[in-house]
Amino acid sequence: MNNAHSVLRIRDLNKSFAGIVAAKNINTDIKPGEVVGIIGANGAGKTVFVNMITGYLKPTSGLIEFEGRNITGIEPRNATHIGVSRSFQISQVFMSMTVMNNLLVAISLANRDSCSLLRPLNSPRRVRECERVMECYQLLKYRDQVAGTLAQGVRKLLDIAMAVVSKPRLLLLDEPTSGVSIDEKFDLMDIVVNALKEQGTAVLFVEHDMDIVQRYVDRIMAFYQGEIICDAPPELALRDAKVIEYVLGFRHGTEQVDDRPKEPRHA
């Protein structure tokens, strides 16, 4: 088996919503520690793809294997426990809690020790662990700030930090830099990518900003109408004729009639 070393193995994955095809014959393998960028215009099926891996959507047909184990149609909360985590396009944090408490809750759920009643949430061991994570993600200075008052970029970092406390082997980032100002984008990605490199986590991330994609990924998967039209290293992918026409061309302002299937919004 030449795919024995893949973290994620996807075979013939299909998804359709009432006749509209959102994913068509998707085949791919992700290796440990690999950073893969997913690009494509709105409605190309990127988020559907991510949502199928974490179990938010059930595929119509096909196989998703994580570390050799069939996880097709798994519940999102079980995906977390076997080592697949995700962050969100719009940060999903606990707005009324402090940064520290956000991470403490995340850590206690990840370690499944949420049931120990006598130990307070902020036990010294958990607090130390959270402080380590905060240091990696440069969140220490916001330790006691309520999440709802954080700047977008910082909240994004917190969102990602909460996804990685369970030490996943595969992390899916849905547009990590959306809503983040241009000056902050690279700083944010530097922090995240460096922290993840240390852990050896494979990363699959959806991104619209080609400068970000080019700089951080080992490989690009370009989506168009639910299909992968190109799967190659960035220097090749970004010169690919189909990618230029269907993904990049659109970005350069070439007017196109939007006849692509609508992507269902997730939260």
Partner: protein, 320 residues
């Protein structure tokens, strides 16, 4: 070790101290004050049950269901087995409410907001309907509940029952404080803030809500049992009707969500507010009670507890 860990928590030591003082004060006050305080503390325990749900962002408009179940469990236990021991009564009241809460929890855990509130109301009105239509269950008159005994001893005054209510209150308040501090307890706020995130962190939101719901039902059931013992009777209108659920929500707002001690303060205050309002204006006492609620919502949105939070010695402590 555990005692040491618990006394380090300021809320716990304050709760224990205040209840101890209250127990001593109970020896010195006239009977009507003792009675009023007992009713207040028992209702406070029920409101503590509502607080568990409130912190998760859920409001139940049907907690009279569990209050009534606890009360009727005590009355029916006596009718059919003759048992009047305080511990058996309390245990049966709590267990009955918890069991029903566990079953209904499977339905309610999938609902939020107004749907959760109205569905709880519907369930409570089913019990009300069954009770008033059934002769065997006492119909509209209910039953009387004989004086509570303690391990075979029949006390002459109500003070031992008062003490039992205080002890139950302390255990419940301390237990809830430990729970709120724990990771599972912090999930209340987490679930209220963001359910999707909780699911993706690997925990079932439905299960979290179910646990809280059963806990809440058990506390309210115990409260109903104690209330029946203090009052010496059970009847549908003062135990199970929707007005009882409304009263509990009223007291929640009066108390505020700030602390596990707040429900007890709010409920005792409510009890005496009503007594005095009735004394002052027998035909318009609701006006006074309603006006008070309006005042609380306008000026103390976090309830009576926010007054205590503002005490100078507390602020100093928080600054430390």
């Amino acid at each position: 070790m555990i005692i040491k860990a618990l006394s380090a928590d300021r809320t716990i030591s304050w709760v224990v101290a205040s209840f101890a003082i209250l127990a001593i004060v109970g020896l010195m006050v006239p009977n009507w004050v003792l009675n009023g305080t007992m009713f207040g503390l028992a209702r406070g325990l029920a409101v503590l049950g509502l607080l568990v749900l409130w912190r998760t962002g859920l409001v139940s408009f049907g907690h009279a269901l569990y209050f009534g179940l606890g009360a009727y469990a005590v009355a029916l236990l006596e009718k059919y087995t003759g048992v009047s021991d305080v511990f058996v009564r309390l245990a049966v009241a709590l267990a009955t409410a918890a069991a029903v809460g566990f079953m209904l929890g499977f339905v309610l855990r999938n609902h939020r907001g107004i749907f959760f509130a109205m569905l709880s109301l519907a369930f409570s009105m089913v019990l009300y309907g069954v009770l008033i239509k059934s002769e065997a269950l006492g119909s509209t008159d209910g039953f009387s509940v004989s004086q509570t005994t303690i391990l075979g001893w029949q006390p002459e005054t109500k003070y031992p029952l008062f003490l039992t209510i205080i002890l139950t209150g302390v255990v419940a308040a301390v237990g809830m404080q430990i729970y709120f501090r724990s990771a599972l307890g912090h999930l209340t706020t987490a679930v209220r803030d963001n359910e999707i995130r909780v699911e993706y962190l690997g925990y079932s939101v439905a299960q979290a809500i179910h646990i809280k719901y059963v806990l809440s039902a058990a506390l309210t059931g115990a409260a109903g049992g104690l209330f029946a013992m203090a009052l010496g009777q059970v009847d549908p209108d003062s135990m199970v009707n929707w007005t009882v659920s409304g009263e509990l929500v009223f007291i929640s707002i009066l108390s505020g969500p700030g602390s596990v001690a707040a429900p007890f303060i709010g409920a005792v205050a409510f009890e005496f507010l009503r007594t005095f309002a009735f004394e002052l204006a027998p035909h318009a006492w609701q006006l006074i009670v309603g006006g008070t609620l309006l005042g609380i919502i306008l000026f103390l949105p976090r309830g009576l507890w926010s007054l205590i939070e503002r005490l100078p010695m507390r602020q100093e402590r928080d600054r430390e």
